[in-house]
Amino acid sequence: MAKITTDDVRRIAALARITIDESQLDAFTKRFQDVMRYIDILNEPNTENVEPTAQVTGLTQVMRADAVKRYCDKSGLLDCSSLPIERGQIKVKSVF
């Protein structure tokens, strides 16, 4: 595989909405590269005409009745947030 550069790591981090500290970038890139280089072993086995496995149960199209159930009340949902509550709503920081 092609060598992974610090620019690649910056690009992938942006896709994942994560910042890697510039001071950590070289070390992070090296460890990332080590892992991806190891993964190249997957090029060895012949997988021509092999179906991919997404999950192992064999289940498909699992259905259930479209029946409305009361899950929990609003106060229960609000209680689970550690963010401030105002007028029955979770208050988040302004992003505009």
Binding site: I18, R31, I39, L42, T47, V95
Partner: protein, 478 residues
Amino acid sequence: MELKKLDIEGARAGLINKNFSAEELVKACFEQIRLKEDLNVFVSLSEESALNTAKTVDNKIAKGEEISTLAGIPCSLKDVVCTEGVLTTASSHILAGYKPPFDAVVAKRLKEADAVFVGKTNTDEFTCGASTETSYYGPTKNPVDQERVPGGSSGGCAASIAADMCVYSIGTDTGGSIRQPASFCGVPGLKVTYGLVPRSGVISMASSWDTIGPFGKTVKDLAYVLQVIAGHSEMDSTTPEVAIPDFMANIEKSVKNLVIGIPGEFFVDGIDPEVEELTRMAIRNLERQGARLVDVSIPTVKYAVACYYVLTPSEVSANMARYDGIRYGLVPKGEIRDLEDYYYRVRSNGFGEEMKRRIMIGTYALSSGYYDAYYLKAQKVRTLIIEDFKRAFTECDVIAAPVSPFPAFKIGEKADDPLAMYLADVCTIPASASGIPALSVPCGNTKEGLPVGLQLMAPQFGESLLLNVGNIYEKTSG
């Protein structure tokens, strides 16, 4: 009688015969938890609610009411099992302060059985790890040797049993996270068939690999717990509607004529010689009980770690996308430029280094131009691993192998080498790839006194067989 040392049968007998109360049993466990606080086993404790449940059970016993097998018996839950109103953080900073508004299905089933929850145990962050060192709350120490890891990611669960803090524990196993800490701490632990125990309400790591399973003091403990938590749920569309057997029905059956397959590929280069010796001695013990040994081959074991470390980070990257700090958890300090800035700051501050690495490996593998080369290829290799196991099980009833190439390592030893940490899972990942059940049962200690576990694997939904063989081994190995 040391209450804290009891297994489920001993605890239940003591409660029924009124030798002690559930309240006394729970208090004994909390005394032990406080005494061994330096092991850093728990992220949070629930002493008040535990004692309330214990008192309810004591009242039922006093009135002569029938109680369930697990009633009044203390257990711990891994810090990814949601319980209503109780702090559950996946041992991550990004879920700081999160109290779920619901019970996980497994928790609900245990509550209906009057189980007593003592607290949430430490785990690698979002269960990504093999040592419980990546927890935001610091590493858990192995009760057998406090300079060493308890294994991971269910290291807190295994340690809570080994340190007599509770009678059984509920952990998760995605690539070995029950079996390996069970082996490192010297307790039995069971990875179930994928889909046997509902995952609904358990914080996900990798959705097509995650399983929920028990630790206990004995193999029978695992059977008693599994009886309560196993079975289809309409809350989890990956739980097949299979009949749940009585897991105790055949647990004492002789292993005469049982065929045990030994795959050479699991005895990897560099395996600790004492681990190999103890594992092979354990297998020979079963032979003395009448089992027949055959060599089997699972050549794709060689690719299992690479397959896992493409597919699981990919699933992790998808599962971690929901942690954006909007609805719950971390709020970044200071002025926010815009929504994107908000996400970057929450996620960068909230996730530890290992989580970031896994999310990024997954993001890379799934990204445009790389999906076929990595993700699709790894899914096809997963099919080859599944086929290898199916072929092996035409030649044997169960497969026996080491759980780990080495016993518990020192805290910090592998912290700077993530690839070395990943390779530690080489013996456990294959069963996870195939979705088959696998048991870790203690099979002795090294000369340094470090526990080693024997791994037994069976075809899908073969838990009864595994529990039977594990129980016979446990009884006859002294």
